[in-house]
């Protein structure tokens, strides 16, 4: 991770600098920079038609005063500037400075200490890179930026404000790393072992293998796992940070299919490599738990990760098989590629039996249908509880991980009726993301009554991975959900 520090403003006399400027700051506020460069900064920015518009950048090479490079980044109108805007500007700065060995980021015009911390968070999030398997890349082609001092008037306060954000960023990085790992490396067993790292943060880590799962009656999850040489794992991560003892925990459940071939209902070859990120739900829960523990959140939280590999083989589950879930309900497996919901069904049941949670949120790269419905800007949000749904949507908007509410209803539930079992695992192409959510809702105990636990399901198939760089998210694994759910907890469930 980029080594972020905060420093009182003193103009550097070498290296590169990124300067964040609102529209109101151009050109009036450039005094000290102009003094150091003999007026070159104002002249240069004028020549580059830089006005401070949001997202605008201008690069001045050798502006004088010993500097190699000055990058001006627009913040837009100050009145419209929010945390997301500051993070994005920090991200833009990190991208612009990535190849510099020595650089500083001047965040004074973005606001006070909290603003500087937000800028720093954006820079850190953007600078992350998964470099493990690049062995022949020349050093000069790699990003050189290792440390970034952020200039702000109250460095100590900014450092304190950054500490919890850094914990969340570390959670994001854990998720991104897990999601980026190739499927031959990150098997269910390896994924579970990596979760042990969270013990250092004070998280209790429990790992269950096939024997225990069989004892618990996880017939649906084991059915998915049975085709693979790599055994399944259920990882239970517990963080107890609430002041009150015996508080009901909040529960997060992640789908962790470390590779999804589709099984016997095998997927087309084109794009199958993307299926290494079919464990992003579980990866997100791991990162979220790291974030909560890392910032010592005052909440009791449980993360449950259902880890399997979905393989076609002689022992693989067949279309037509009927499996018995941990809840006792039976499922006719029509399509072995609708495996995520089978895993979640058992884990959701276990979560309720074991932890009687205050709410449960599951995350899953569940359906292609959600991408056809919404694209890549919103995750699909399904819930049996309007209040929880609104809290999640608001938290998502605040951190730039947007969700869009989708419908549930009896008429959709009818589509998963089976002739020989309690339900089937697919309901057809039409409304495919909704019928998947209906399937999950069948595993919410006492569904349809007041006793049912508040539950939300995030279908993150369209948002877990990106093929383009975004302001604070480089191309690749996004860790969508870590910041959102951390914010949800911070806003409503701590104390």
């Amino acid at each position: 991770m980029l080594d972020i520090s905060f420093a009182r403003p003193s103009l550097p006399s070498s290296g590169a600098v990124a300067l964040l400027l609102a529209e109101e700051d151009v050109p009036g506020a450039l005094g000290p920079w102009d003094e150091a460069t003999g007026g070159a900064v104002t002249r240069g920015l004028e020549a580059a038609s830089f006005t401070g518009k949001k997202g605008q950048t201008a690069t001045l090479l050798a502006p004088g005063g010993g500097l190699a490079k000055l990058v001006a980044i627009g913040l837009g109108k100050r009145a419209a500037l929010d945390a997301k805007g500051r993070e994005a500007a920090g991200g833009a700065a990190a991208a612009a400075l990535a190849k510099e060995a020595k650089a500083v980021l001047d965040a004074r015009f973005a606001g006070g200490a909290e603003a500087a911390a937000e800028v720093a968070l954006g820079a850190a999030l953007r600078h992350w890179r998964f470099d493990k398997y690049r062995t022949t890349e020349k050093p000069e082609d790699k990003p050189k930026l290792k440390a970034l001092p952020v200039l702000t008037d109250d460095a100590a306060k900014a450092k304190a404000a950054f500490a919890p954000k850094k914990a969340v960023a570390d959670g994001v990085f854990l998720t991104r790393e897990l999601v980026s790992e190739p499927p031959n490396v990150l098997t269910p067993a390896e994924f579970a072992e990596r979760c042990r790292r969270l013990e250092a943060l004070g998280v209790a880590v429990e790992i269950l293998g096939p024997k225990e799962l069989k004892k618990l009656g996880f017939g649906a999850m084991l059915g998915v796992a049975q085709g693979s040489a790599n055994e399944p794992r259920l990882v239970v991560l517990r963080w107890e940070g609430a002041k009150k003892k015996d508080a009901k925990p909040v529960c997060f459940i992640g789908k962790g299919v470390t590779f999804d071939t589709g099984g016997i209902s095998i997927k087309p070859a084109g794009g199958m490599e993307d299926m290494k990120w079919d464990m992003a739900g579980a990866g997100t829960v791991a990162g979220l738990m790291a974030a909560l523990a890392g910032r010592k959140a005052k909440v009791d939280a449980v993360g449950l990760l259902g880890l399997v590999e979905n393989m076609p083989s002689g022992t693989a589950q067949r279309p037509g098989d009927v499996v018995k879930t941990a809840s006792g309900q039976t499922v006719e497996v029509i399509n072995t590629d609708a495996e995520g919901r089978l895993v979640l069904a058992d884990v959701m049941h276990y979560a309720q039996e074991k932890f009687s949670p205050r709410f449960m949120v599951d995350l899953a790269t569940l359906t292609g249908a959600i991408i056809i419905a919404l694209g890549h800007e919103h995750a699909g949000l399904f819930s049996n509880n309007d209040e929880l749904a609104q809290q999640i949507a608001a938290a998502g908007d605040a951190v730039g991980e947007a969700c869009w509410r989708m419908p549930l209803g009896e008429e959709y539930d009818k589509k998963i009726k089976s002739d020989i079992a309690d339900m089937k695992n697919v309901g057809g192409r039409d409304g495919g993301a909704i019928t998947a959510a209906q399937f999950l809702q069948r595993f919410v105990r006492d569904r349809g009554t007041d006793k049912a636990v508040p539950w939300a399901h995030l279908d993150i198939a369209g948002t877990a991975w990106t093929t383009k760089d975004h302001a604070t998210v480089p191309k690749g694994a996004t860790a969508f959900g870590v910041r959102l759910l951390d914010r949800l907890v911070a806003e409503h469930y701590e104390g």
């Binding site: 991408i371 056809i372 919404l374 694209g375």
Partner: protein, 482 residues
């Protein structure tokens, strides 16, 4: 089927539809017990003792449930294999005027059959519905409005069920021109004038067909001095997909690709028949997306009616092209609001299935009004987003914008998954300008996915007629709304 309001008892010898809400009507208790009939759940119970009757459950008592109840009653008296009795009775005593109107409306809508010529005609529906009510004068206004709306629904269904060789663009335009009979002003613009006007989208899509394209405007003046609400709708009489031809499987269903225009026309007929005070207009883009020597091509750049250029990517995404020109034309009417209605994308069916239509728009109050009208009529909607990236995806290298993304060019997963309903809505928004605009993507709900009281599976639903009529009634009939 004609409707007549009556007071008093049901005449002996005529079958009666008896809606059940709460207590079981006198005389039927034994039969209800024997059949374990549950008025909250079951739809219909056909009885011959103690009299010729059908009991229908009122479900949760909502307008949509009453509509289904009335329809279920009528359907029970009119089995598919037999002619219905000439006169049937609906016992709406004990129901308020609006409730009685919903029951009757359901029956009137259900009394519809495809009116296509065949050597062995289908059994015909009853000729008359006598509605028993407590107070005829109190019941009359709502009942007349219900008759008007049901006529609009049946009109729309007649259009939708007509196959592509019967309902050519020319025939469609002719049938719309005949709406002058209902005191609607009708303006039909034909292919030559459209070309002169520069309606490049509509002309390109309709260019390969034998007839059309047409742009038809229906105008209802109303009595309120206000700008009209405008329904802008897609009327592709048959959609082969054009050069990007569709697979053979299911192509016959493409006769219904004009269901948006049919519903908009049906709603206009309803407004006219019930003499709505609100001014309203429908601008209907009518064309056949045929395959021929004059077909437009993927890669073509079209000059649209509003002057913008559009790069064609997939000729099967034709609906948004004809709607773009229709929106530009509708804006010339200075509408207070515009609502597009179209069987636009397969994507919305994947998103929402067959139970809800997709709702998009630029104006939250209008969208909320549309959603409320949908809930009230049982023609349910669900909002879907137009995101920044949806719009950005439509940036073209050589034109002002492109109308969709190439297949296989989605992000990730081999590019297989495209949010095409969102892309289509983002495209249309460009042509709606600053007018408050809502958009209903009704693909998936234009035909009945399941057979039920309102009709047999696969038959046209008339989706949109009742919703738009309700929208106007709730939001555009207040003379002080300006």
């Amino acid at each position: 089927m004609k409707l007549r309001l009556r007071a008093g008892e049901a005449p002996a010898g005529r079958p009666v539809i008896v809606p059940v809400r709460g207590a079981v009507p006198a005389g039927f208790a034994d039969a209800v017990a024997a059949a374990a009939f549950d008025a909250a759940k079951d739809e219909a119970l056909r009885l011959f003792l103690p009299r010729d009757a059908v009991l229908v459950g009122c479900g949760d008592g909502s307008g949509a449930a009453l509509l289904r109840a009335g329809a279920a009653g009528l359907r029970a008296l009119w089995p598919a294999d037999r002619a219905a009795p000439e006169r049937v009775v609906l016992d709406a005593r004990g129901f308020g005027p609006e409730e009685a109107a919903r029951l009757a409306e359901g029956a009137l809508i259900a009394a519809w059959a495809p009116s296509l010529p065949r050597a062995e005609p289908l059994p015909s529906p009853p000729k008359r519905l006598d509605v028993l009510c407590d107070d005829e004068d109190a019941a009359r206004p709502a009942m007349e409005a219900a008759e008007a709306v049901a006529e609009g629904v049946r009109f729309a269904r007649d259009l939708v069920v007509a196959p592509g060789n019967v309902l050519t663009p020319r025939a469609f335009a002719d049938r719309l021109a005949a709406l002058e009979e209902a005191d609607l002003d009708v303006q039909v613009i034909g292919p030559k004038r459209l070309a002169r006007m520069g309606a490049g989208g509509l002309c390109a899509v309709g260019g390969a067909a034998e007839s059309g394209p047409y742009l038809v405007t229906l105008l209802w003046r109303g009595t309120i001095a206000a700008d009209p609400v405008a329904f802008v709708a897609k009327g592709i009489t048959f959609d082969t997909g054009g050069l990007c031809v569709k697979p053979a499987k299911g192509m016959e269903e493409m006769r219904a690709d004009m269901a948006g225009a049919a519903a908009a026309a049906g709603a206009m007929l309803a407004l006219a028949r019930r003499r709505s005070p609100a001014p309203a207009a429908a601008v209907l883009a009518i064309a056949e997306n045929a395959l021929g020597a004059a077909s437009y091509r993927p890669g073509d750049v079209l000059r649209m009616l509003d002057g913008r250029s559009v790069e064609v990517v997939d000729t099967d995404a034709e609906g948004r092209l004809v709607l773009a020109d229709a929106l530009a034309h509708a804006r010339r009417l200075r509408p207070a609001a515009m609502v597009t209605l179209a069987t636009l994308t397969g994507s919305v069916v994947v998103a929402l299935g067959h139970h809800r239509a997709g709702l998009f728009g630029s104006d939250p109050p209008l969208m909320a009004a549309l959603a409320a009208a949908g809930e009230a009529t049982g023609e349910r909607l669900w909002p879907l987003p137009i995101g920044e990236r949806h719009r950005r995806d439509l940036d073209s290298d050589i034109a002002d914008l492109r109308h969709c993304l190439p297949a296989g060019k989605g992000e990730g997963w081999g590019g297989r998954f495209l949010p095409d309903a969102c892309h289509a809505a983002a495209f249309l928004r460009e042509f709606a300008g600053s007018v408050p605009w809502g958009h209903l993507d009704i693909a998936g709900v234009e035909s009945l996915a399941r057979g039920g009281p309102l009709g047999a599976k696969g038959m046209p639903s008339g989706f949109g007629v009742r919703l738009l009529d309700r929208l106007v009634a709730q939001h555009f009939e207040d003379p002080h709304r300006l």
